[in-house]
């Protein structure tokens, strides 16, 4: 199974991982954190190198975590294995200037 594509998890809290090589629709990949395989996922679409793949189900409006921090929120539901990008998540900072500490 050594030839499975890998995706790297930046923090254990994250619901997305970064694919380290382009993964094709239907291909299985290993999600790695600290050199250990955390979970395996099947890509539901083609995902380019260094783009994000959902590793947990994300509902519409859910917070998306990378580095253990908020990178945005989902604007529709995102299934495990889907590409997570500008079409399905948006910034919580931009256009939300009244946020307090």
């Amino acid at each position: 199974m050594a030839d499975l594509k890998q995706a790297i998890l930046m923090n254990e809290k994250d619901n997305v991982a970064i694919v380290l090589a382009q993964i094709r629709n239907g291909e299985r990949g290993q999600v790695v954190f600290n050199k250990e395989i955390v979970v395996e996922v099947t890509a539901l679409e083609d995902i380019e190198t260094y783009h994000k793949i959902a590793i947990k189900p994300i509902q519409d409006g859910d917070i998306v975590y990378k580095y253990g921090e908020i990178i945005g929120k989902a604007v529709c539901s995102i299934g495990v294995g889907q590409h997570v990008h500008i079409d399905n998540i948006e910034s919580v900072m931009v256009g939300n200037e009244s946020q307090s500490v």
Binding site: V32, V84, H85, S100
Partner: protein, 389 residues
């Protein structure tokens, strides 16, 4: 943990030993260069301006010149001025002397009677200073004396997921040992200011973080630029970044996960140890110059596309997580941590590699930029308006 460093009379420790020929105005740059070229062991610090400056501009300039002279890697300073410039070379000399008893001399071209006389005097003074400097030996000192400057430039899709977080692990290690890490580049903080403010030591530091980001954003707005709306750029998105905060989080990961103890102005010397934010511009050379004036003895620079950058006072270690860049720009790159992106090494293990490189370079190993004698320096000049197009 110990490193070998040079003790300075003000109690600080340098990991390099330099005499600087510090020009206090553009008009003195060439004369300062002549002096520096004659004396081995000196470095020339050309001034991008130093005169015809007002308000915050001259304040930043003078503060930074003082900070450069006080940098622990500096054994001594020869100030070379024209004489009539806004920086006031004789006053600078007095102010530096008040804050440190390191060797310092001052000459002005107008008082000496031209470039040749100024050069002759400068060469004599610098020669004596370098001779004294050569007698100083390295001694073992605690690594908690080290102030690390961090910066990124020429970033690509690998930066935020390899070099920056790996440098963050190294930053955490140094801070856990009592050292100091400076995180700068205020433009890169936009979008993460609330996250950083939550990591602040107290309310004051938290407010300072929000303030430097807000002030910068307002300046951009005055110029009709919407920074938040413009980021991530189309290139960033192609590389996989989806939101402003995702991009900024990749940048701030250089500083690691420590509590933020202080926010300092450009070129100011932090009073705290641990993680410190300096308000610096996005232009790499200006940003790193500010951190040099802030007392950093060493800089780690992360890049995706590669960079030749160096510094006249500090060694700059350049690391990349992009294997192609490391191979293509081997002449300029110091450390390849692309194993973080093949699964061969974890981010933490790459952080350890960076920390060991930091130790080696502190102890005297040359960086690529040092071996070429690169001395990129540019003091930030604020936004000054003197004429319109």
């Amino acid at each position: 943990m110990k490193v070998k460093a040079y003790k300075r009379p003000d109690g600080k420790y340098g990991i390099r030993n330099k005499v600087i020929i510090l020009s206090t105005a553009g008009c003195a740059n060439e004369t300062a260069r002549l002096i520096s070229q004659q004396v081995r062991g000196t470095v020339n610090i050309p001034n991008p301006k130093g005169c015809g400056q007002i308000g915050k501009g001259i304040e930043i300039m003078r503060r930074t010149l003082i900070g450069l002279s006080l940098n622990p890697n500096v054994f001594g300073t020869i100030i070379v001025g024209l004489g009539c410039e806004t920086t006031q070379p004789y006053k600078l000399y007095e102010e530096i002397k008040e804050r440190s008893n390191k060797p310092i001399d001052v000459i002005t071209i107008q008082d000496e009677g031209g470039t040749l006389k100024a050069t002759e005097k400068g060469v004599k003074l610098a020669g004596k200073m370098v001779e004294d400097m050569s007698k100083v030996k390295r001694e073992e000192v605690d690594i908690s004396n080290i102030v690390l400057a961090t910066n990124c430039g020429g970033s690509d899709a690998t930066s935020g997921i390899s070099a920056n977080p790996a440098l963050g692990c190294c930053s955490d290690t140094l801070i856990n040992m009592g050292g100091t890490v400076i995180l700068g580049e205020t433009t890169e903080l936009i979008g993460t200011e609330h996250i950083l403010a939550r990591r602040a030591k107290d309310d004051t530091v938290g407010k300072d973080i929000l303030k430097i980001v807000k002030d910068l954003e307002l300046e951009f707005h005055k110029l009709g630029i919407d920074v938040k709306g413009a980021n991530p750029t189309p290139g960033n998105m192609k590389g996989g970044l989806s939101t402003l905060e995702e991009k900024a989080l990749g940048g701030i990961s250089k500083g690691g996960s420590s509590t933020i103890n202080e926010v300092v102005c450009y070129g100011d010397i932090p009073k705290s140890k641990g993680l410190v934010i300096m308000d610096t511009p996005g232009y790499d050379i200006e940003s790193i110059t500010g951190m040099t004036a802030g007392g950093a003895q060493i800089c780690i620079f992360t890049t995706g596309r590669g960079s030749p950058i160096g510094n006249p006072l500090m060694p700059v270690i350049k690391i990349t997580g992009n294997k192609q860049t490391y191979e293509k720009m081997f002449d300029n790159m110091d450390l390849d941590i692309s194993d973080a992106l093949t699964g061969k090494r974890s981010i933490n293990e790459c952080g350890d590699m960076i920390f060991h490189e930091l130790l080696d370079v502190c102890n005297g190993k040359y960086t690529k930029a040092e071996s070429y004698g690169f001395s990129d320096i540019c003091i930030y000049r604020n936004q000054e308006v003197w004429c319109y197009l």
